[in-house]
Each structure stands twice: as C-alpha cells, then as structure tokens.
Symmetry: C2
Subunit: 277 residues, 2 copies
C-alpha cells in the first residue's frame, strides 16, 4: 500500500517517538511507505521543524551510506522552567510533611505524566554524552530511571539492598549512608552490567550522597565509568557532600515541621547545562 | 501562529501519544493551532484512520458540548502475536537458567522497547474496564506496572515488603507465599490509595499466586475492588492455583535444568480477550 504524506507524517512521528536516538535509514521508511526517498526527506524536514518549534525534540541527519535520521528528545528552556516551577509547587504542599521531617513524594513517583516530563528533561541534559546504561537503586529510584532510560533509549539496571535467587550471582559492597552514618549493603546482579560500561546514575532523591557514592563504588567493581549523575530532588545538606557533580531538577531547601512550611526551588539543572532547543 | 495541516498532524500525534485516554476538546486544538474546528475534525479523521491501520490505537469521539476526542492505545492481534512469539524466544534461551531452576529475566524488565510493547498490549486487554489505579509489588513488578499505567493513563502504586519513613502510615498484612508456603509481610502506604478505588493488579511473574492473593487481601483493607489481574509471565503450577482470573502474556511450561531446556508458550492472553484493532 502506498501512503499519503499525511499518513506518513503521523506514522513516522509515532515511530520516532517510540524509538528515541535510534538511527533509522531513509530506505527503511521508503520501503514501509512505498514512497521515494526524496518524499521521505521532505517529510523529515517538516517533522524536524515541527518537533523543534513545538519543543518535542530534534531530528538529526547522519549522512552517508550507513546514515539515516535520529530523533533526539530535547526540551525548550521555557517549557522546562514551567514544569520545574509546577513541580516545586507540588512538592511544597505542607500536606506532604511526615513525622521526622520526611516528605511524602510517592504520588509523584507513580504519576505517568510527571514521570514522562521528568525523564525527558533529565535525558535532555545528558543528550550529548555517550551512555550505555542507566543505573538506579531500589525502590523509589526505579520509576525515574525507567523514564530517563526510555528517553535515552538505553537499558536500566537496579541495585538492590537485598539479594534474591532470580538475579544469579551478585557483587555486593558495604557503604555508609551519608546522613544517618549507618553501614548498609547494596548489590548488583553480575549479569546485568558488562565490564567497562558507561553509566548514568539516576535516583529520586539525594541528601548527603552516601547511596550514590555506594553506587559509584559498586561501578568500580565492574570497571564501569560514571558518565553522569541525575536526581529528581536534592536536599540542602550542611556538611560537605560526598558527591559534587550532579544534575538536580528541584532542591528542597528547608523543611520546617513546626511552621508546616516546605521551601523548594529549582535545582542546579538550569545553571549547569545548555542543551535546550 | 497559524499551523499547516502537516504541522498539526505531527503535533497532535505527539500530544495524543503522550496523553492516552485523556479527553481533549476540539476547542483546545482549534485554539492552539489557530484553525477552524472543521479542519481539526478532518485532521482527527486522518489520524484515527492511520492509527487504526498501523496498529497504534484508535481515536474515540465523545459527542456533545463537553465532548472531544480520546486516544485509546490498542494493538492489532497480528502484532501482539508476533511480539509474544519474540518474547517466548527470548525467555526460552537456556543462558537464563539459574541455580534452583530460576530464570534470569531482569534484562527484559530493564528494556524500554520491550516494556513499552508489554505495557501497550496488557493495557489494550483491559481498555474497556473502568480502572482508577494500577498496583504492583516491589521490586520487579514496578517496571511492568509503570508502563501499563502509562498506557491506561492512571497512577501506579507500589506495595512493599519492608517499611520506610518516607511512606507515612501504612497498612500491613501477612500472607502465605503460595509455592514456598512461607509467611511473609507486605504493606501499602495509607495515603497512596483512596478508599473504594478500582484497581488493576500488575506483576512480572505469577506461580502459585500467593503474592497476588496477598495484594487482594490488602485491597480489602482499603475497601478497594480488583478490576483485573495482568502478569507478564505465569509459570506452570501443578497444585490448585490461588488465583483463577488473570491475563498472562507468556507461560513458562517447563524448566529442565539437566537438559538445559526452557519450554515457553503464549499465555492465556489471546484466549481471553477480543479487544484488538
């Protein structure tokens, strides 16, 4: 069946969105739609322009015989600022206060719309880095890691604090939780990470950075390199932090249980990067 | 700025894909694109036809003043069969064998492309049910629940086997693991689920059904109702199963450690439902 331009644009948009960062040859599209490569090229120009104008991302062209196009999810700075403002407002709701000054954020980590935006914005920040795999720690890091990994089109792996039979042999390390100073254990399935992988560490929350430091130690055991660290939220921490290079979307500056006030601002996201559309 | 048809089709496809099951008024699109409602209507007919033809889903029209359109993700039966076949092939790889006859499936649960398909196919099966929230149990159920919840456009919540300060007060129950007959504990944050919610239970794996039975007991404590149970994989189980109504994508029929053979077939997915495009 031959496709009309309108049909091709719809189907290509769907395909590109489901396959971020994947190189697709023009021959592939030309074959599927029974259309000339020149028509496909014109389609892709329209898609690229619309994606960029609407803050969806960009379409990169890779020239040559082995070339093709790649959809790279990217955000517009104004859209990212608007979303982070909205996130700050949601987090500063005093209903989130829990005994001990903890904040209830589980609802945000179970909201597909929010996760989708978080994933796209965090992935945009590292779009130009060479990343093989996203790594996080169970339990709350998983939803954030999954959405970032989707937008980077790489697998994600999960470090556990327990050990179960369905993971096979594991590598374990002890680490000191930065804020509570307690000694804890974390382990990663040996099969889940290849030696020498380039890893992006993703987590929902960072205070002193002890858990993330533990993940870095664990990666050393696999001779893997840390290509970046991104967190949804960081919390103000008075003492010297164990981690200094990271990207955070929001920063929890102060939690006043007595006055029922939570002070939240944008994280270091906008100061560190310039990868916007 | 006025948009051309080609630009509208691309942007609307992106919007609908990011907002499954959300009712969007024609006025909304008409306002964004500075185009007449009649043009928007024509656009939506083209999108609906292409979505259906390409196995992306359908676009439902809700008439009336409060009406609009909704994108419902659905799959074509032939595409679902092809994907499930591929999944069976992946799972039957003898390299997955672990001591004790367990199977290593962690890589599949960290693959965004696979998860995206799994989520769309499982969500299609319950597309006509009225579901408020998806529930799963930590850790391995989370990626499957997240992708199903995304395609149903509802939140997902996570039952835990431990208890942490950032969840607030919890409701806990004891349950008997069906295959090991051990007594275990699971708990759910009280805030995470409203009384009377309609819940879809999602998990990665079911053997005797003890864990899922535990989740059903837990839902009773919230006066919530179970609207369905979907699992990625079920395992052959000789004794009477604790759960009888569920949807599974694949079925692990036999694991022979000595002969290094894993026998896998499609689950009951195709026998139970007719919700295909």
């Amino acid at each position: 069946m031959k496709f009309r331009r309108s049909e091709r644009l719809i189907d290509m948009t769907h395909f590109l969105m489901n396959h971020p960062r994947k190189l697709v040859s023009l021959t592939h599209f030309s074959h599927i739609y029974q259309s000339a490569k020149s028509s496909i090229s014109e389609d892709l120009v329209i898609i690229k322009n619309t994606f960029e104008h609407q803050g969806i991302g960009t379409v990169q062209t890779v020239p040559g015989a082995a070339g093709g196009v790649k959809y790279i999810p990217r955000v517009k700075k104004e859209n990212a600022i608007q979303f982070v403002d909205h996130l700050c407002e949601l987090i500063s709701n005093p209903d989130r206060l829990l005994p001990g000054g903890y904040l209830y954020m589980t609802d945000l980590l179970g909201d597909s719309q929010i996760l989708n935006e978080v994933g796209k914005i965090l992935a945009s920040a590292v779009a130009d880095r060479d990343i093989d795999v996203v790594m996080t720690v169970a339990t709350k890091g998983i939803p954030v890691a999954q959405t970032v990994a989707h937008h980077l089109s790489v697998p994600f792996i999960v470090v556990r604090r327990d050990s179960i039979a369905t993971e096979g042999s594991t590598v374990s390390i002890n680490y000191v939780s930065g804020s509570s100073k307690r000694l804890q254990m974390m382990s990663l399935s040996r099969r889940s990470l290849q030696e020498g992988s380039k890893v992006l560490i993703v987590d929902d929350f960072m205070k002193a950075g002890g858990t993330i430091n533990g993940m870095i130690d664990l990666l050393n055991e696999f001779n893997a390199t840390v290509e970046g660290i991104t967190v949804l939220a960081e919390s103000e921490f008075q003492e010297e932090r164990l981690i200094d290079e990271y990207i955070s979307l929001v920063k929890i500056k102060d939690v006043n249980v007595k006055a029922k006030q939570i002070s939240v601002s944008a994280g270091n996201y906008f100061s560190g990067i310039n990868e916007f559309l």
